[in-house]
Symmetry: C2
Subunit: 481 residues, 2 copies
């Protein structure tokens, strides 16, 4: 294990974080908020640590193996959250460090679960910093999903390799840089487009930018306590629905979009399932809302679309308290929490790709039962998938369920009821934000005991980094030579 | 497809059912209940159908292939339930045929979910028939699990083949008869032993026999509305706990017990997990009950043991309304509903064996991540398990979850809340009996709308027959030549 390269990378990333905290301080200064100094304190602490570490690691070999990869990725999110919590904590906006850490981890993991009871009381600088943690987290996820995870060999992510004009599965390759930069370019362009479109809907530029940051990251932090419901604008709701949907797509498909190769997108099997699934569940909910609550068809469609896309992409914005909808709709929404966005998007959860391959494989299992000697592979985009990858994905699902069960039991042990326990865990493990029952969209995570907040912070981290990246660090195999 | 052999077998089994309905009529006659005639009507109808079918099928080839196997097994449970419902329906004890069918399917699948609001009002004959549906169901399951499923190649059941002094995996073999007879011998002996021990606890012989029938079947039908709580006897609770535990063990281990080869039992990995798991969850619940409810240690241990064994073996007797216990305990019990008894027992659910292998495989997945080129097999009783069997088991779990999700959504669509929907589905799919919330141990299934009862009846059937046996009949592959 080359710890020095790990520290080297972390210290450089920490310097970048310090810079962005400073920029948030400038936002505060620009708005004349008195808390701008706290940003520079926080930024200074981060920079100081980064600089103090640097002399110990500067002369390190630049080779980064798989083992170091898991550690760097996991620690990046932890270190960013530890220092990213400082502006909230030092300024006194969030008096408890546990709460500040939870809020920051929820940001960098693009979860969106919040402990804040009065978001509007935050200064512009803090609101900006809160949104930008998600936007940075989203950037990190894109490069991780497309460049790093396939090499680390985690649960089916290898399937990307054939798709992406990027690295080959051996060592971290200079081409990653190129791939990442192009994907980030698309990410930035989409963010700016959304900002512009939201401003056309009479949102001020600050709110528009913040919501665009957290939409593209499928994060879901809003600058308003009421979330998107605050604006009470069908136009804004449709625009955000559209961009949430785009953010939940595989970003590599955007390459094809730029080259106007639309067929390539519409032939992508995961995209088809994602799009058809979104539409299908929206229509089912519209039907029940219209029949059982007497809502008009357009508002029912708009609210249903918004909520389905928000949950499926794991963004977590709210325009309505779905806990007040008919029980059937609550159940559908709860089930959607176990799917997640497309692989290669900023969305969390198990991902459409994995669910799709597992469903297909289960269907073929019946065929295999009748023809036990035939070899019946699962196909993705018409190519046979290696049974080992299917086995990886199945193991991923099993670990996901184990974590969900352990998490739910832990939450109930500290006093939450069954629904709230399940809701809190899936909301964090799936990086969604709001859950059900006591942590539904009309509530937040403030009342959860501290130990629960630490457990849920860990759940966010593990869920965000595709489980294995973090969990492998806790196995003896990882540390054996 | 040789439909005639399927009909031939069904007609012979129906004649047996007719006989046992008659015997239940004799019980009614013996107790001087006026409803004995209805049993003979029901028995007559079953016999008449059996005889009417017979001429069409008597000259059939006696070869029974895999395809016919799935159909025979599935239809046996359906036909038995259709005709087995007659005594309840014709006598007027259960005025709705839907309810009568649900109650009977719940019997033959050893589920124990009931629609009866006043069990004590039933005649002795009906109580006897109700219990014996479970006992017969248990007999069917033993022979199915040990002799038929391994040949049909369903989700990991092949692992038995090496263990059981029974058939080889090609055609239904005459040796099955011998194996089945010996296992049934053990089943009958244990039933009689329990009856005797319950009578020593001052239970009258009728109740003792009925409870023994439904204990050994892990069915859970009681002759009392209050279930085992009625007797208010620690001795009876311990005895029933013991026999539920035995009924949830792999019956083939009883061979070793008879030959006094105890080591073979204690070295069996599934048994170890089953025994240790039972003890562990019991102690966890005892701890919470003592701390949070102030219950004494002995009653807490007794109630906790009884409930853990009852749920884990999928029996479903109740000595306490666990919905009134602390939220944490409810969550633990709910999670236990997803495990089930040992493979080769009369217990339902996914089974300890499958859960154990999946947990082990997930753990090894981390090792595989670090050493991607090494071949790291999962071992069961120190032998490497074919990765194909692990894949089978993973597919089984995925299908189990899909059914649970579809079932929960269906139940919520007809008006149940989330917890009741999940509870009703897992209680039936896992062949447990009582679930949580509106179908918890203090309630029953009476208030569920008819369509829900048919869906749940189907869930019991599918769960009881290890999913694939039934579901394969609904795939095009099965019917293609």
């Amino acid at each position: 294990m080359n710890f020095r390269i790990v520290l080297f990378i972390l210290s450089r990333l920490l310097a970048i974080e310090s810079l962005i905290i400073s920029i948030s301080g400038l936002v505060s200064l620009f708005y004349g908020d008195i808390d701008f100094l706290y940003f520079f304190y926080s930024s200074g602490i981060a920079l100081a640590v980064s600089i103090l570490v640097f002399p110990f690691v500067k002369n390190t070999k630049r080779s980064l193996g798989k083992r170091e990869g898991y550690l760097v990725v996991s620690l990046t999110w932890v270190v960013f959250s530890i220092f990213g919590a400082l502006p909230f904590y030092i300024s006194g906006a969030i008096p408890s460090y546990t709460d500040a850490f939870f809020e920051t981890m929820s940001g960098f993991t693009t979860t969106g679960a919040s402990i804040l009871n009065d978001i509007e009381s935050l200064s512009h600088g803090l609101l900006f910093w809160r949104s930008i943690t998600q936007w940075l987290g989203g950037m990190g996820i894109i490069v991780m999903a497309i460049a790093i995870l396939p090499i680390l060999g985690i649960g089916g992510m290898q399937l990307f390799i054939a798709e992406v004009p990027g690295p080959t599965p051996d060592k971290l390759h200079p081409r990653i840089k190129g791939t990442a930069k192009r994907l980030w370019g698309i990410y930035i362009i989409l963010t700016l487009m959304e900002t512009l479109l939201l401003m056309l809907g009479n949102m001020d530029w600050f709110d528009a930018l913040n919501h665009s940051f957290t939409t593209m990251a499928t994060g879901g932090y809003s600058t308003k306590q009421m979330s998107v419901a605050y604006y009470n604008s069908p136009y804004i709701e449709y625009i955000i629905s559209l961009f949430m949907f785009l953010a939940g797509m595989n970003f590599t498909l955007a390459f094809f979009a730029l080259k106007l190769k639309w067929k390539k997108i519409f032939r992508n099997e995961e995209f088809k399932w994602y799009a058809i699934g979104t539409l299908l569940f929206t229509l089912i909910i519209v039907f029940f809302l219209v029949i059982q609550t007497g809502l008009g068809i357009e508002p029912a469609f708009r609210q249903s679309l918004f909520q389905v896309v928000s949950i499926l992409t794991t963004t977590g914005y709210a325009t309505a308290d779905y806990m007040l909808w008919p029980s059937f709709v609550v159940v559908i929404i709860f089930m959607l929490m176990f799917i997640g966005g497309s692989a290669g998007s900023t969305g969390g959860g198990p991902k459409v790709l994995r669910i799709m391959l597992l469903l297909k494989n289960s269907y073929f299992e019946f065929k295999r039962l009748i023809h036990p000697k035939a070899i019946i592979p699962v196909r993705f985009n018409k190519r046979a998938v290696d049974p080992k990858i299917i086995a990886n994905i199945q193991a991923f699902l099993v670990v996901y369920i184990i974590l969900f069960v352990i998490g739910t039991i832990s939450m109930s042990a500290i006093g939450l009821d069954l629904d709230s326990s399940m809701g809190a865990v899936i909301a964090c493990l799936g990086n969604i934000g709001p859950g059900i029952a006591d942590v539904g969209p009309a509530n937040n995570f403030y009342n959860i005991p501290d130990v629960g907040k630490w457990i849920l912070s860990f759940a966010m981290l593990v869920g965000r980094l595709e489980l294995f990246t973090v969990l492998v660090l806790f196995t003896p195999h990882y540390w054996k030579k």
